[in-house]
């Protein structure tokens, strides 16, 4: 019997959430005033949770490392947010959104959680519109939708290419209202450095004021972690520079199990790396694949000439181009899901067909789309026998209207005009489906400690569909956690304020201070970034898009060695009682150096290919699916939840078996 209890309510899937809500314990409004809740992180999940809990009457303390909640990295999400509104009348429903999400996640998510997510998705749109989020509309004044990869309906709501920004500003406005009322006490430029448990329950956190360096104690009746994913374990990713796993990792070390760390999304359409100085990667919305055709040269000598700068892509004849996605996946073509598109790009580049100086890029070509739209426009405008230049001009205008901001962004970064020459793209780490294990209430294995949004593992299984991250973050924060946390807090109405002058706080605060002192006095020889880059290189090469037992075993040993060297040789200048950005980075990289090893261990144990996790040993060997990922439902239909036992290599695996009662398990085929 597993120690894990998912607490999924009984009954038919479509009734679970409403029945559950009807029967959980509530806290009466007068008592809510006596209860404090800490929310760490102010992105879509943390921000929406903090605002909603404060509206309900709890005293909320919210924490962000940035100078404002509005700057959390949810702000950078471009494409959109899914919701089963069926405004387009194309047959969408709660069940379809649920089905697509479970299938897209390669059948490695918990059915009941995903169904609930689909169920509340429509409420999110209503709530955001009521807040004044300016979603795109059609000429009749109603909300517009677009379609995203891996699904057959149009259910994605959007605000230009800045949907994440607008949704976050919505949650931020709701927070501001509560900050003004005094129901949220906002701690900007504060970083959580550990959690404090009292009698086994989460009762507070230790933070560092990033301006003064002061170490502070904060207590509450419950602690909510909404600090995002751990993609920066790769050093280069589309995450923000400050995005980190410290809060999630610290709670793991205090007893919260960490689930499925190996499930990472590598997004196919990012701007390639240009040199060793590169600090981060920039994503371009996957909507580009609606009109762009992906290719590399078919002849290796052409690829070499391009890499050396002797040949331009426009000089390569149509017949000498390999549109490898259209070749391998005729049914879905350039619109295969993210994991499939990413692996296919890597396969071509590993074979030597990459198209920039680093050999790590493929083309995304809009020439065909420009030509197609141009001809269509010429017909609409009644221009007979239009010249090639005219067709191009008309087509370019259409492509510009659809993707103008992305083309402009590309040109600013790469300094090439993507209307004239194909874009270059390469996959980059983008999102982590794994995270802190939570039950149906979003509570971790530590009582009173909750985890929401990307930081938890729950809803996306082994692969996340486009426009689903925003949906999950807001579902957790607006509509799930505020209910489920009440059930737990109803036992705390007579507890009274949690004191911070106790041995439990003393002990954790001392450990935090000791670590800071260690960094400042270590007097090593190498910068924090030096170690972070080395970790990233191992992660990318051996725990990246394609993994095997040998590489993963090596990765575990190499990461351990880097970690040991880090503790000997890291150098952190400055002092502790001031703003010290190197000190902040040191703490975060120390945690990544542990998380990376557990990540590799998890990938090693999962001897199947599923979603973002591709094990070379587990591929189809013959038939039409030859070379494609082979999932193993018989042996691996479980969630890996790791218990901390000191060294990451010693972590103990607990399995939550996944049951599929409402969906039949099938191979994901995009041929």
């Amino acid at each position: 019997m597993s120690v894990l209890d998912s607490k999924v309510p009984k009954g038919p899937i479509k009734d679970k959430w409403s029945n559950y809500k009807d029967h959980i314990n509530l806290v009466n409004p007068a008592n809510k005033r006596n209860i404090d809740v800490i929310v760490v992180g102010t992105g879509l999940a943390g921000g929406s949770a903090a605002a909603t809990l404060a509206e309900l009457g709890y005293n909320v303390k919210a924490f962000a490392y940035q100078d404002s909640p509005r700057r959390a990295h949810s702000i950078a999400a471009q494409g959109g947010i899914n919701a089963a509104k069926n405004y387009q009348g194309d047959g969408d429903s709660t069940y379809r959104l649920f089905y697509d999400t479970v299938k897209g996640g390669d059948y490695r998510s918990r059915e009941a959680n995903v169904y609930r997510l689909a169920e509340v998705s429509a409420n999110i749109i209503d709530q955001c519109v009521a807040q004044g989020v300016p979603f795109a509309r059609d000429y009749g004044g109603l909300l517009d939708n677009r379609s995203f990869g891996g699904v057959l309906v149009s259910r994605t709501f959007y605000a230009k290419g800045q949907t994440g920004q607008q949704l976050l500003l919505g949650a931020y406005s709701a927070m501001n209202r509560q900050i003004a009322r005094g129901k949220i006490e906002m701690f900007n430029r504060h970083e959580m450095l550990d959690v404090v448990l009292v009698d086994g329950k989460a009762r507070g956190i230790i933070t560092r004021n990033l301006i003064t360096g002061e170490i502070e104690r904060h207590s509450a009746h419950a602690v909510v972690i909404g600090t995002g994913g751990y993609g920066n374990v790769y050093f280069l990713s589309t995450n923000a520079m400050g995005s980190n796993a410290t809060a999630a990792w610290k709670i793991h070390k205090k007893g919260a199990f960490f689930a499925n760390p190996c499930y990472t999304q590598i997004h196919p359409t990012c701007i390639p790396r240009s040199g060793d100085y590169q600090s981060k990667l920039t994503l371009m919305s996957e909507s580009l694949r609606n009109d762009g055709r992906i290719w590399v040269p078919a002849k290796i000598e052409d690829a070499k000439a391009i890499q050396q700068g002797k040949l331009k892509p426009t000089q390569i004849a149509e017949a000498d181009r390999d549109y490898y996605l259209e070749r391998r996946y005729p049914a879905f073509g350039n619109l295969v899901p993210r994991d499939v598109a990413s692996r296919a790009a890597k396969e071509r580049c590993d074979a030597g067909f990459g198209v920039n100086a680093t050999g790590e890029a493929v083309y995304l070509d809009f020439a065909a789309a420009i030509n197609r739209y141009g001809k269509e426009q010429a017909k609409i405008q009644g221009i007979s026998n239009p010249s090639e230049a005219k067709v191009y001009e008309l087509g370019q205008a259409i492509v510009e209207a659809k993707y103008g901001n992305l083309f402009q962004m590309y040109e600013k970064i790469v300094d090439e005009n993507p209307y004239k020459t194909p874009m270059m793209i390469y996959p980059a780490t983008h999102y982590t489906m794994g995270g802190v294990w939570v039950d149906y209430n979003l509570m971790t294995t530590v009582p009173g400690l909750y985890c929401i949004g990307e930081a938890n593992f729950s809803d996306h299984g082994a692969n996340r569909l486009g426009a689903s991250a925003l949906m999950q973050g807001l579902a957790d924060g607006y509509f799930v956690l505020p209910y489920t946390i009440g059930d737990y807090l109803s036992d705390d109405i007579r507890t009274g304020k949690i004191p911070t002058d106790t041995p439990e706080f003393d002990e954790v605060e001392k450990a935090v201070k000791d670590k800071i002192d260690f960094f400042l006095n270590n007097d090593g020889t190498k910068s924090v970034d030096h170690f972070h880059k080395r970790l990233g290189k191992v992660m990318w090469e051996k725990v990246g898009m394609s993994r095997n037992a040998k590489g993963l075993t090596e990765a575990m040993a190499e990461i351990k060695a880097i970690r040991e060297e880090f503790w000997k040789e890291v150098k952190v200048p400055g002092s502790g009682n001031e703003m010290n950005l190197e000190l902040e980075k040191a703490g975060r990289v120390a945690d990544f150096l542990e998380l990376g090893e557990l990540f590799a261990k998890d990938a090693l144990v999962r001897e199947e290919s599923c979603g973002g996790h591709f094990r070379e040993e587990s591929a189809e060997t013959d038939g039409p699916q030859k070379g494609e990922a082979k999932r193993n439902d018989k042996d691996f239909a479980f969630v890996s939840a790791w218990e901390y036992k000191g060294e990451p290599a010693d972590a103990i695996l607990h399995k939550e078996e996944l049951e599929f009662n409402d969906i039949e398990l099938k191979q994901r085929s995009y041929k």
């Binding site: 929406s48 509309r137 931020y172 406005s173 589309t238 040199g275 962004m409 600013k412 910068s527 150098k571």
Partner: protein, 248 residues
């Protein structure tokens, strides 16, 4: 390329600061400005010096964190970009580049190039919201049609990233573009009408309290705004304010 950098160094809000010269070599034209700063900081850490503190986070032009005043311009010489999107190809080998923090009374320096923008937070808290609780029972999103034109205009105003370049650029350190953009977003939408009078009055009052200057319509803020927020938003705020004053 090789560059000389003149950078504002200031230990904390209480200590007097000064410009300090640094040299960087072998800078690639493909680097972003912040990556060039990373190279300098790595150099400083390796030689045991304190690196330069600067705000940055998303490095894709949307978080609004980065805030450098470069050669006398907010976010540097390029248009429509934040500092993280400014590339070194905008500079030449041998250039001397001056880098300062945002300069405004309402944005005190915290350290080096990092400033305190809490004044922006307090302005937002004064009224930049619609008072609607989360319930799951608000009306269906499509029961309130909004003309595409109004929705698009509200979106244009809402793209403000709150970086403060408008304030840093303005000779009066006015925050009118920032506040105007937020007031406009709500003024253009039917959801914003109920609280329109109090919103504009309270936000403007808070703006004045924070010590931002007045607007004298020079339009420099619009030119330096990385998101192209239009001056029309200031005009709209003034109209809203006048309307609110007449309503009492």
């Amino acid at each position: 390329m090789n560059l000389t950098l003149k950078i504002w160094r200031q230990k904390d809000s209480k200590t007097k600061g000064q410009m300090v010269d640094y040299k960087v070599t072998d800078i690639s034209e493909h680097m972003s400005f912040l990556e060039m700063m990373d190279v300098l900081n790595e150099q400083l850490v390796n030689s045991g010096d304190e690196p330069i503190a600067f705000d940055h986070d998303c490095r894709e032009g949307i978080c609004g964190m980065c805030s450098m005043y470069i050669n006398g311009e907010a976010h540097g010489p390029d248009r429509g970009v934040t500092t993280c999107q400014l590339h070194m190809r905008m500079f030449k080998d041998g250039d001397t580049i001056t880098i300062e923090p945002w300069r405004a009374k309402a944005f005190p320096v915290i350290k080096d190039l990092v400033v305190d923008r809490m004044s922006f937070e307090r302005i937002q808290q004064a009224g930049a919201y619609i008072s609607v609780n989360t319930s799951g029972n608000t009306q269906d999103a499509n029961s309130l049609p909004i003309s595409k034109h109004a929705a698009d205009e509200a979106m244009d105003a809402a793209t403000c990233i709150g970086c403060g370049a408008c304030v840093a650029t303005c000779k009066n350190s006015s925050a009118m573009l920032f506040v105007g953009a937020k007031v406009s977003q709500y003024a253009l939408l039917p959801q914003g009408q109920v609280e329109a009078v109090d919103r504009v009055k309270n936000m403007v009052a808070q703006m004045d309290l924070e010590g931002f200057g007045n607007c004298t319509n020079t339009g420099a803020c619009e030119i330096e705004c990385p998101k192209g927020i239009s001056l029309e938003n200031i005009a709209r705020m003034n109209r809203e304010f006048l309307k609110a004053s007449l309503k009492g």
